[in-house]
């Protein structure tokens, strides 16, 4: 079941009438609802399977817990020893699903389009870490959490996936992609808006 259609797509923050970018005090927050997301499960210990995935979408799945790999425009986030989330360009999730399904047909594996299950809040700037610390119990100091690191954690009272996508040394400061369950988007946006102060 693909999602190509003529109908109007709506972001979970559509009711904010486009007020989905906030810039204040060294922090920038913006919604990116359309990034493609595909949940992939399979046996990480099976080199043949890994090679099949590599051949299909040209990315090496990360093996170390809470890390990611990247082959632009695709990145792969480690979620569990046998589970990853592949993030791809807006609208390309159908192709990624098709490629993966073709590759894993002979294996016990699972490929599920979860593009609409989560929206993405992109948080950046020098103050981003302090803002996250208000709602996240993990140690997000650069010595503990850096470029490419992934966490599945609570931000305020929403379960999110957190992914640092640029280095702290970058000019605009670090960038974090926060994958938010769709139904929690309004809550977490409100919480972040309040926490930015």
């Amino acid at each position: 079941m693909g999602s190509g259609s003529m109908a109007d797509a709506r972001s979970p923050l559509a009711h904010l009438d486009g007020a989905t970018v906030i810039e204040r005090d060294g922090v920038r927050l913006a919604e990116n609802p359309d990034a493609g997301k595909v949940n992939l499960r399979g046996d990480a210990g099976d080199a043949v399977w890994l090679a099949a995935i590599q051949a299909a979408v040209e990315i090496d799945l990360p093996q170390a817990p809470n890390t990611s790999t990247e082959t632009p425009p695709l990145s792969a986030l480690w979620l569990a020893p046998d589970e990853w989330m592949l993030v791809c360009a807006d609208g390309s999730e159908g192709d990624v699903v098709a490629s993966l399904e073709g590759a894993v047909a002979e294996f016990h594996a699972s490929v599920v389009d979860v593009t609409d299950a989560r929206t993405v809040f992109r948080l950046s700037g020098a103050g981003a870490r302090n803002l996250l610390a208000k709602g996240c119990a993990l140690d997000l100091h650069p010595r503990a959490f850096g470029l490419g690191d992934v966490a599945q954690t609570m931000l305020a009272k929403a379960a999110v996936i957190l992914h640092q996508t640029t280095d702290d040394a970058d000019e605009a400061g670090p960038v974090f992609d926060i994958y938010v369950p769709r139904s929690f988007a309004d809550y977490l946006w409100s919480w972040l808006t309040d926490a930015i102060g």
């Binding site: 259609s5 797509a9 709506r10 609409d116 208000k134 119990a137 009272k157 977490l188 919480w191």
Partner: protein
């Protein structure tokens, strides 16, 4: 500048150029920036600030920090007010308003002061003894006792301020920024560790802020020079976070420490300002440098305003430039009070004498005092005091040779203040909260840190160090070793050399003798507990210190007995003839000082109190004026009132429309789990009670899941999308827990099964349409789909396009009508909904909410997990024997269904109830009896689980769980209500279309 009578001409750290106006009990005063409310009041000669809790005795400022038991005030007014604020820790700001608590009509003339005259009638345990009988009157007594007791007022409106919380992690958390803490932070920071340094005061420095350095040298300079250089050094370290105005209030497991930062308490405050921040710190290493708290001396009439701790007097003189009085008497059992005497004398305060309980005082400090011309009365004691609202004189006598009584003549010393010191107790509160063991130091009469249970070190005065040199060297050592323990081995620093006078030994003096029998000596000032009260408690048989504490209330005030607890222990030990360590200490509990509810709640207030989960169609429901119902964290449309409709009218209309035309329901909250793998069918066979292996691709089946105890856990429809691919639905509330349940069985019990489960609850928006016109409606929007009943049968699935959106359509029903569940990617949920509403206009489409859904399913006798079932109900109890397949092999809960208890005939079973009056709707939860008695108790044989008015039947219907219910059909039972008894008849729970003809229409 307006005159502040007791402000010294110079000295102190206050900003003398900045005058600050404030009010106390309605009177206007002036202080300086940098003052506390206490120092500013003292600068204006105000000592009397409150009345005591029980006897309403006048009380003054006693300490200079968070140990303060007496000077509790109400701060602010209206919604922005705080009770029980210690004047000694309240920073002065322009416009501050403070009032005394616990006095009426005024502080100086308090009518309840009469309690004091009859204090002999109010001994320990008075309330327990007097107000016990008759028990029914306690509520009456309590109201009046509460009013008489001295707690402040609660705010009268919503808190206008903001609070926030933050998490923090560090290598080394240093608590207390006195000399030891500063040295530790400096050493750890230099080594490269991530350091947080927190201190409860506005300025970092601790005791150094009160140290004039007249007799002490650090390195080549004064203590102040060292403080300035150290603070500058710390401020320059990137990985060191300095948190002044921040109290470590609780020390929990795994070095988790709670800090309360007072961000805006020292500011006048605007609505919406950030007032406090709660820090949740996880530290690899903790260094406690929490200092020591001076003990009071227990002597006759020791509670008059003007009598304060010697260290506090010293702080007021040196740090705030305030004289605690013009003539003072110092009373001590140790050398530290001599520093206070010297500093007061140097500031021009007349020191009448140092009365020292020790027989021989010849160390450095007494020598310095004598050289300064201060009379030292060694081997003497204060036997009584005078003065109504302020001390005016003390009586002094010589101690007898044994030291347990007095001898000789009484000498009266006129004075307006007394500075006393009973020695210093290490502030071991946090160490003890961290489950560290305490050991008793016989020499100093103190409890000090013993064996630690966490990665924590105690340094400085909280480890019984009294000399600055020891504090600094211990701090440097602890900071360095803590950093090394976390792998930071950067630069090393050395502690500076310190020149300071030697300290002589202290002499424990737990109760100073007096020539007057029965005179009151206060131990716990806030709760008005005297030495006599403790004696009485021991005589009455209270031997455990925990019992004595509760009986006398000693140490149970907001100060938790910081200045008096050790004295109380010692007095109880004396009475019991036991050693102090044998008596032990009472438990040190968090919080160290009170924490506001605002800080504990943080930003989780109002709209952020709890997440509101929204479906993709949420905005439409809002636009249509729907009333919402909370289902877990979801907001679901409950019903859609039109015009002036009542809830009943709206629900009746919605229920009828779904049976007569077409209804539309937002079903997006339904839990959805994608299940794949060669063993998926076998897996479902094990988690559901019925069989799944023969289900055809494209077909749907209803299933019930049991817990391993055989009780119904969840239910829903699962569709076979492919040979090895299923889509399971769960109830809204159980979506997450069912997924966890499935994962648990796969990972722990059946790792051999090749199955992957992925939640797709949020991926799909689900719209349910039902009713006789549902098919026509769908046909108009899905021209490519085959919808005729022969080719799209009940309980089957089709993929296609609906309103131009790729959709998966299930023909299923929770209402007994022909129904379709249309699933589309969530981003198109609203578009699908809008298209159905528009297309449905010609069919009279009616949106219905969860209430109508409940009525519709109740008409059909469908149970709801969590409503009919409550964790004690088997599918057999629900009359659903048909869902249990005994021949397919094992499934979760199977064995439990044949336990003797689960096969009893008299278990509660699901039945329907008709009230004798068809308009009467029973309350859900109503208890049902077979025999009505005049009054409870009656034998309850069951209860109502669901109850509605059914517009399709034109009468009320109810579902109930009744003992042996299926055998009672036709029986008359009763629902006894407070004002009447409702007669009910037991029926079958399927009320409408029992043959299911409409479903296949």
């Amino acid at each position: 500048m307006r005159r502040q009578r007791f402000r010294l001409p110079d000295g102190g750290r206050v900003d003398r150029a900045a005058e600050v106006a404030f009010s106390f009990n309605g009177r206007r005063y002036f202080g300086h920036k940098g003052d506390t409310l206490a120092s500013a009041l003292l600068a204006n000669g105000v000592h009397l600030v409150g009345r005591s809790f029980k006897y309403h005795r006048p009380r003054g400022i006693f300490g200079s920090g968070s140990e303060e038991p007496n000077a509790l005030v109400q701060l602010g007014a209206g919604p922005r007010t705080d009770p029980n604020m210690r004047a000694t820790t309240v920073e002065l700001f322009e416009g501050l308003r403070a009032t005394s608590q616990n006095c009426w009509p005024s502080l100086r003339f308090d009518l309840r002061g009469i309690n004091d005259r009859f204090s002999a009638l109010l001994p320990a345990g008075f309330y327990y003894k007097t107000f016990m009988r008759p028990a029914r009157l306690w509520m009456f007594y309590e109201k009046h006792i509460r009013k008489a007791a001295g707690l402040g007022r609660a705010p009268d409106g919503c808190d206008p301020d903001r609070y926030e919380q933050t998490h923090a992690h560090c290598d080394v958390l240093v608590i207390g920024a006195g000399p030891a803490g500063l040295a530790a932070a400096q050493a750890a920071g230099a080594a490269g560790a991530r350091v947080i340094l927190a201190d409860e005061q506005a300025e970092l420095g601790g005791s150094l802020l009160s140290e004039p350095g007249r007799h002490i040298q650090v390195g080549d300079g004064t203590p102040a020079d060292w403080l300035g250089a150290t603070l500058a050094g710390l401020a320059g370290m990137d990985e060191v976070t300095l948190l002044p105005r921040t109290t470590a209030f609780g020390y929990y497991a795994d070095n988790f420490v709670g800090l309360l930062e007072r961000v805006g308490d020292h500011l006048p405050g605007d609505d919406g300002m950030l007032r406090q921040r709660l820090w949740k710190v996880r530290a690899k290493q903790v260094i406690l440098a929490t200092g020591a708290i001076e003990r009071s001396l227990v002597f006759a009439e020791n509670d008059r305003p003007g009598i304060m701790l010697a260290g506090a007097a010293r702080t007021y003189v040196n740090r705030y430039g305030v004289a605690p009085g013009s003539r003072t008497v110092v009373f001590t059992n140790n050398d530290s009070a001599y520093a206070a005497a010297l500093d007061m004398a140097a500031a021009g305060v007349g020191v009448e004498a140092v009365v020292d309980l020790r027989n021989q005082v010849e160390g450095d400090w007494p020598r310095l005092a004598r050289e300064a011309g201060i009379p030292v009365m060694q081997g003497h004691t204060i036997t009584g005091t005078r003065g109504r609202h302020r001390v005016s004189a003390v009586s002094v006598m010589r101690l007898n040779d044994a030291g347990d009584g007095v001898a000789g003549d009484v000498r009266q010393l006129k004075c307006d203040s007394v500075a006393m010191s009973g020695g210093w107790s290490p502030a071991v509160h946090l160490f003890s909260q961290a489950r560290g063991a305490l050991t008793f130091d016989e020499q100093e009469g103190t409890f000090r840190p013993g064996e630690a249970m966490q990665a924590v070190r105690s340094v400085g005065a909280c480890d019984d160090a009294a000399r600055l040199a020891d504090c600094l060297s211990a701090g440097v050592e602890a900071g360095r070793s803590a950093a090394l323990d976390v792998g930071c081995d950067g630069a090393q620093i050395a502690a500076p050399a310190v020149g300071e006078p030697a300290l002589g030994p202290m002499q424990p003096a737990w109760r100073a003798p007096s020539d007057r029998k029965g005179v009151r000596m206060f131990v716990d000032f806030q709760n008005d507990v005297t030495a006599k009260d403790l004696d009485l408690a021991v005589r009455e048989g209270y031997h455990s210190i925990e019992h004595v504490k509760r009986y006398t209330t000693t140490g149970m005030g907001t100060d938790q007995g910081k200045t008096g607890n050790v004295n109380a222990l010692a007095i109880v030990a004396q009475q019991l003839g036991a050693e102090i360590p044998a008596v032990g200490v009472t438990t040190f509990r968090a919080p160290y000082t009170p924490v506001t509810f605002g800080a504990i709640t943080g930003s989780h207030v109002r709209g952020l109190f709890d997440p509101v989960r929204r479906t993709p169609m949420h905005d439409w429901h809002v636009e249509q004026g729907a009333k919402f119902e909370d289902v877990g964290q979801w907001k679901r449309a409950w019903y859609y009132p039109r015009g002036e409709e009542t809830m009943r009218q709206a629900v009746d209309r919605e229920v009828k429309a779904a049976r007569d035309g077409v209804g539309i329901l937002d079903y997006s909250t339904l839990g959805k789990i994608d299940i794949r793998g060669p063993d998926a069918a076998e897996f479902l066979n094990r988690v559901y009670t019925n069989g799944w292996k023969k289900l055809g691709v494209g077909r749907c089946r209803y299933g019930v899941m049991l817990r391993d105890d055989g009780m119904v856990m969840d239910d829903g429809v699962t569709t076979r999308l492919g040979e090895n691919h299923f889509l399971m639905t769960t109830t809204t509330g159980n979506a997450a827990s069912v997924l966890s349940w499935l994962e648990e069985w796969l990972q722990t019990e059946w790792p051999d099964l090749k199955v992957y489960c992925t939640s797709v609850t949020e991926q799909y928006a689900t719209v349910s349409i039902c009713g006789p016109k549902a098919r026509d409606l769908l046909a108009g929007l899905a021209p490519d789909m085959t919808l005729d009943p022969q080719n799209f049968r009940h309980m089957s699935m089709q993929e296609g396009t609906v309103a131009g959106i790729a959709a998966r359509v299930l023909r299923v029903s929770f209402t007994g009508e022909v129904g379709f569940e249309i699933n589309v990617p969530s981003r198109y949920g609203r578009a699908l909904w809008d298209a159905l509403i528009a297309e449905g206009e010609l069919h009279g489409i009616t949106p219905y909410g969860t209430e109508a859904m409940h009525v519709l399913r109740a008409e059909k006798g469908f149970f709801i997990a969590g409503q009919e079932s409550d964790g004690t109900v088997t599918p057999l109890d629900l009359g659903m024997d048909w869902i249990v397949n005994w021949t397919k092999g094992d499934f979760i809960g199977r064995r439990s269904l044949s336990r003797s208890d689960t096969v009893r005939d008299d278990r509660k079973q699901l039945v329907g109830l008709f009230t004798s009056d068809p308009e009467t709707v029973l309350d859900e939860g109503t208890q049902i009896v077979a025999t009505v008695k005049d009054k409870p108790p009656m034998d309850m044989i069951g209860h109502v689980t669901s109850s509605y008015y059914s517009p399709n039947l034109g009468r009320s219907i109810a579902m109930a769980m009744i003992q042996g219910g299926r055998g009672r059909k036709g029986e008359t039972l009763y629902a006894p209500m407070p004002d009447k008894v409702i007669e009910v008849t037991v029926t079958d729970p399927i009320f409408f279309d029992p043959d299911g003809q409409r479903l296949n229409g």
